[in-house]
């Protein structure tokens, strides 16, 4: 884009002069959308100096650098814990980084780094425990004490990835409840969860990154913070831009920094971020005026456990916010995980700060890139898949076989699992030696009454590790391997795995 960031309608200096003289015109993104609808984009971009935005959602890539000061005798902290949550101490002697999604060693999934940050900001005492490496400089071996935010020297919130421009929404096609970073997903397309602030989303409102860059002053956690660069996994060409931010924790508020837990997933931190968008040119005005009905995201099926989860539907935030989305002719209930109420509060607060002259805008030192290659992680070490280990010479049974035939087959071939197939070799059930024992105990005569019909299977390219976990989960010792059409092509048993895969090398 030519002239990205061109100050054609007004400069930062002009805006700041108007802020100081008290005649700046600020609107929240919601108000700006209404203004544009009433008066048109041309007039709106001339009349309005700044549009404020806001978002309040779970931002796992958040944390704080803390400096505790030196004890007497001093310690070089090698490992340290805050309320039993491990903090990274591999920096200088008494500095640490407490990450939001690191969980307490004694209360995992209940309490984590995000909660430590919230407790510090709300003035609570936090237990500090540390182990040191004894040297001539640092004779102390360990320490235990309590600290408050006031006691320590510096506390800097430094978040490597915040304020996703939009976020994928989630649904679950599988037949069990999933506990994900997008909340509880009920089985069989039971609900949809989504994130992001839609028309209040800070980064979406300047989606070409014409005003957002290093040094942009922002609302962060109830105080003032700064953008320090693009966020990790910044992927602006797909409207998945992110920013990294920092700010002094001591002037923030626990209202906008809330420790949180995603049940059976992890702990995290809800962070309030608000960015002022100066209307420096018409392109910025146009993106700031985007409505929920013009902002789209994808509903992804979390029932498929792979990196490439299938897209179920493209939806607008307007449709998501209606609370109901049509999927396969069904109405599925949708609800957000980030708070629109708080997002609006943040946009309003920022607007008030600017109007009252308490917050000046800053011209970024460098704009955040509007294109960035997005790379997956390639696993270079060989990983074994089912077809490396499975037994291909399979013995199968048919429904017409008698229980006695099956018993004979199992003993003659020395196997414990017998997949039962139809005339086209498609899997319809499985019988194990244990089922035969039950058949005798309960005096059952036909195969159908003893075989398991809901068979746990594997595909030939599934990772062995994943299948082993699946077998442990269902407490089974073997799985038939099937192709896309459910034809049996092999069998994988714990016996195959223990005999053929030792020490992760193929014998």
């Amino acid at each position: 884009m030519e002239n990205r960031g061109a100050e054609e309608l007004r400069t930062y200096e002009e805006i700041n002069r108007r802020i100081q003289s008290g005649d700046v015109v600020v609107m929240t993104a919601t108000e700006f959308i209404e203004y544009v609808e009433s008066y048109g984009l041309e007039k709106a971009s001339k009349d309005v100096d700044v549009v404020t935005t806001g978002t309040f959602g779970a931002m796992c890539s958040s944390g704080a650098f803390l400096n505790f000061g030196h004890a007497d005798p001093p310690i070089k902290m090698v490992r340290c814990w805050l309320n039993d949550v491990p903090a990274y101490a591999g920096i200088a002697a008494v500095d640490c980084y407490i990450g939001a999604s690191c969980m307490s060693e004694t209360r995992p999934f209940e309490y984590g780094g995000g909660h430590v940050i919230e407790d510090l900001v709300s003035g609570k005492e936090v237990e500090l425990r540390a182990e040191g490496r004894v040297t001539d400089c640092y004779p102390r071996e360990s320490l235990e004490t309590t600290i408050t935010l006031n006691d320590i020297n510096q506390a800097m919130l430094v978040n490597p990835r915040n304020a996703y421009e939009r976020y994928n929404a989630a649904i679950n096609s599988s037949n069990r409840t999933l506990y994900t970073y997008l909340g509880v997903l009920l089985p069989n397309y039971g609900n949809i969860h989504y994130c992001g602030a839609g028309e209040l989303s800070p980064l979406y409102k300047d989606m070409n990154f014409e005003t957002i860059g290093i040094g942009t002053r922002i609302f962060l956690g109830g105080g003032i913070g700064y953008i320090i660069g693009e966020g990790t996994q910044h992927n602006p060409q797909n409207q998945l831009g992110t920013i990294s931010v920092c700010g002094n924790l001591k002037q923030m508020s626990s209202e906008y920094l809330r420790g949180a837990t995603f049940y059976r997933y992890s702990t995290t931190l809800y962070v309030g971020v608000g960015i002022p968008i100066p209307i420096i040119n018409k392109r910025v005005a146009a993106t700031a005026a985007l409505k929920d009905s013009e902002i789209f995201t994808y509903i992804i099926d979390f029932g498929v456990p792979s990196r490439n989860r299938p897209i179920v539907k493209k939806v607008s935030y307007a449709e998501l916010k209606s609370g109901k989305v049509e999927i396969n002719n069904m109405e599925v209930r949708a609800s957000p995980l980030s708070s629109f109420q708080y997002a609006a509060k943040i946009a309003n607060t920022l607007k008030e700060w600017i109007e009252k002259g308490k917050f000046l805008l800053s011209r970024p030192v460098e704009l955040i890139p509007n294109y960035r290659e997005f790379k997956p992680l390639i696993i270079k070490k060989r990983e074994f898949v089912v077809k490396d280990v499975m037994t291909r010479e399979i013995v199968v049974g048919r429904l017409s076989d008698s229980i006695k035939d099956v018993a004979r087959l199992l003993t003659e071939r020395g196997i414990d699992h017998l997949p039962i197939v139809d005339d086209e070799n498609r899997l319809i059930g499985i019988v194990t030696s244990w089922d035969l024992a039950k058949a005798i105990a309960q005096d059952k005569k036909d195969l159908e009454s003893i075989m398991t019909k809901r068979v746990i299977t594997a595909k030939e390219n599934d990772l062995i590790d994943i299948v082993v976990k699946r077998m442990a989960e269902y407490k089974i010792s073997g799985v038939p391997v099937v192709d896309e059409k459910n034809h049996v092509i092999g069998i994988l048993t714990t016996d195959d795995i223990s005999r053929k895969l030792v020490g992760r090398r193929l014998l």
């Binding site: 959602g57 779970a58 009920l186 809330r258 809800y270 209930r333 995980l337 980030s338 708070s339």
Partner: protein, 131 residues
């Protein structure tokens, strides 16, 4: 009125609810059921009150079913709630809704006491009450 029924090993195989329906013509709705060979737990919604309700409860008890009234299942601490909505679509019974300003509203009548919302709440401000 919602009732929680607990069936023991002895009575789990008997068609007790079916008998009540035939006898009283009540449209009993089974909201949740967990039944195994050894025991059963059910939450039913029964469109009745007064004498008729008493009769049904007495009959259930005479068949050895433990009957408990499902009341005041959860409580939301609205002061600490961040109005996100994580509990709303997680609720299989549609018992939590969001108002115009996104604050959440609990609809007691719909609640089946499953407690998914307690776990779904990221900031843990929903508390399950009693048992």
């Amino acid at each position: 009125m919602k009732l929680k029924l607990v069936y023991s090993h002895e009575n789990v195989k008997k068609p007790i609810l079916a008998k009540i329906v035939l006898k009283t013509n009540l449209l009993i709705n089974i909201i949740e059921a967990k039944v195994t060979a050894n025991m059963g737990e059910m939450i039913i919604d029964i469109p009745s009150e007064g004498e008729q309700l008493r009769e049904v409860i007495d009959y259930l008890r005479s068949e050895g079913v433990t009957v408990k009234e499902v009341v005041r299942t959860i409580e939301i601490d609205h002061d600490r709630c961040i109005a996100c909505g994580a509990c709303v679509s997680s609720c299989p019974a549609d018992a939590i809704k969001q108002n115009e300003d996104w604050s959440v509203r609990f609809i007691e009548e719909n609640c089946i006491g499953c407690r998914i919302c307690v776990y779904a709440c990221p900031v843990r401000v929903i508390q399950a009450l009693g048992d």
